[in-house]
Amino acid sequence: METIDKSPRRRSHIYASEARVAYICLIPAFIGLIFLTYLPLLSVLGISLTNWTGLAAPKFVGIDNYIQLFKTDPYIKDSIIATIYFAVLSVAGSMIYSLFIAMLLNRKIPARGFFRAVFYVPYVLPAAAIYVGWSWLYEANFGFFNFLLSEVGLHKVLFIADSSHVVPSLSLISVWLAGNLIVIFLAGLQNVPSVYHEAAEMDGANGWQRFRHITLPCMTPIIFYNLLMSLIANLQVVTPALSLTNGGPGNASRFMTYLMYDQAFVNYKLGYACATTFVIFAILAAFTGVLFKTSKGWIFDEGGDDK
């Protein structure tokens, strides 16, 4: 962290010009932080206390929106459950999958660069197209997955058209998309000092012991980073609902961000939607906070070489 220099007076004119340059450089960031971040954040709270629909002038209604949201809203509960369900499945799935693949790719196998590229490909495809494409694989009668199921003698599954399967089906897609996590994990694995492994091998540690006591502890900072980023991203999931399911079937995929979109941009209840936004924000903050709080316990700090 920086400290502000307490500079001797005779050099202060240099600092004045330095500061002037700094403020010029930071003009875009100032505008961004004020008008695109913190002011909107405050206004979410402000608008959430009104009954604004975008037409008439907004009227102050106190916390009515929040009361209505928790007492009578038909969607919010399902929406929170669906979102958390999706996020937990997707985050757990993609973390395990990507760490596993990264560990395989970290071994001496031929054409490693090629395979790394293959696993990364899904990440560069536009999300909207991915969901449209997968909807064909999930198709109820002629889709590929149902062909597989019928081949092994199982009943057909409706996947995204079935309220109890839609969330796991969408989670599988987000696991498939986790190529960027693999690349980050792989880079982390290559930074684990090989002397540790060699020393442990001398002492007769087997593969699992080395993974458990060397690889895993050295990787904890990167695991934390990936966990945090994919949790924040997955809790804000909205694209599959927008492009594919429209929140259905039933409310099974009415994710929180989609609910907010629906209230604000389909039903034009701006005040009410802002209340929803604030609730979502609180949930996201709670998840992030818990993750940070527990992180001190399990992140292994090698000490030193990283500033």
Partner: protein, 289 residues
């Protein structure tokens, strides 16, 4: 080395070779799992609808019906959508990278009053989920500034530092460059902007490319914001065009898949060209935090 130790080493080598072989097999299986959906989508795009519904389905199309693409293009205005998407992406990438570099430089190298506070606000905004500010920003752009059915609400935010994450990345990168370089230039009489553009910028080129790529990926994957701000169909982007196209042609899977494949193509092409930077960039973000 004793005879026994030598034997142990040899058997370890053999064991390693078997393990590597198993690894390779597993990696290939997973690679197939990753590529298969893309192949399935592609092969569907080249089939007649009758062939699609055949049982059992075949892995390869009987005739490679590239005419499906021609038919799709009559309804799915791919080139127009691609052009529209680029109108959003290109200025955003350039402006975002440029302003992120300016801000990152100020935070990394310059001394000024209020630095810690502004830095804290900047880092704090990194944890703020984008969806939280969606509604107020929409109100601001459309009601406040009257920008209806316009690309500007999507582009202009990138003129404001390109997002806290990107500023953070650039700043971390500049911090890791030895200060002696700019000190030497200062002695030679170079001003702060001279130092930035002739010393810092060449040294952080990889990080700047990464920032541009991130902005590209973010906009490329976006659907929500494009849906909110863009209304008229001649302004549709690829994501909007495809979503709309699917709605029109619910059952015509071969044409829908042809449109999907076309939407895949620019990303794949871009990736093949810039693969090195993609991988380097993603790696950087993991390491610099």
């Amino acid at each position: 080395m004793s005879e026994a130790a030598f034997g142990r080493l040899k058997s370890k080598k053999r064991k390693d070779r078997t393990a590597n072989l198993i690894t390779l097999v597993v990696v290939v299986l997973f690679a197939v799992f990753v590529l298969f959906p893309i192949w399935w989508i592609f092969r569907t795009s080249l089939m007649t609808n009758a062939e699609i519904y055949k049982y059992p389905p075949s892995l390869l199309p009987a005739d490679w019906l590239f005419s499906n693409y021609k038919k799709t293009l009559e309804i799915f205005k791919f080139w127009k959508y691609l052009w529209n998407t680029m109108i959003i992406i290109v200025p955003s990438c350039l402006a975002g990278t440029f302003t992120a570099t300016l801000c990152g430089y100020a935070f990394a190298r310059l001394r000024f009053r209020g630095k810690q506070l502004i830095w804290a606000l900047c880092v704090g905004s990194m944890l703020l989920p984008a969806m939280v500010t969606l509604i107020p920003l929409y109100i601001g752009w459309t009601r406040g500034l009257g920008l209806h059915d316009s690309y500007l609400p999507l582009i202009l935010p990138y003129f404001c530092g390109g997002g806290a994450f990107n500023i953070f990345l650039i700043r971390q990168f500049i911090v890791s460059i030895p200060r002696e370089l700019d000190q030497a230039a200062t002695i030679d009489g170079a001003g702060y902007f001279r130092i930035l553009f002739s010393i810092i910028v060449p040294a952080i080129r990889p990080a700047m490319i990464v920032v541009a790529l991130f902005i590209f990926i973010t906009l490329w994957n976006d659907l929500l914001q494009q849906m909110i701000y863009i209304n008229s169909s001649d302004k549709f982007t690829i994501a909007l065009g495809l979503t709309n196209f699917r709605g029109q042609l619910k059952q015509d899977w071969s044409l829908t898949m042809a449109a999907t494949c076309m939407s895949f193509a620019p990303g794949v092409l871009f990736y093949l060209i810039g693969q090195k930077y993609f991988v380097e960039g993603i790696t950087l973000t993991g390491m610099k935090n």
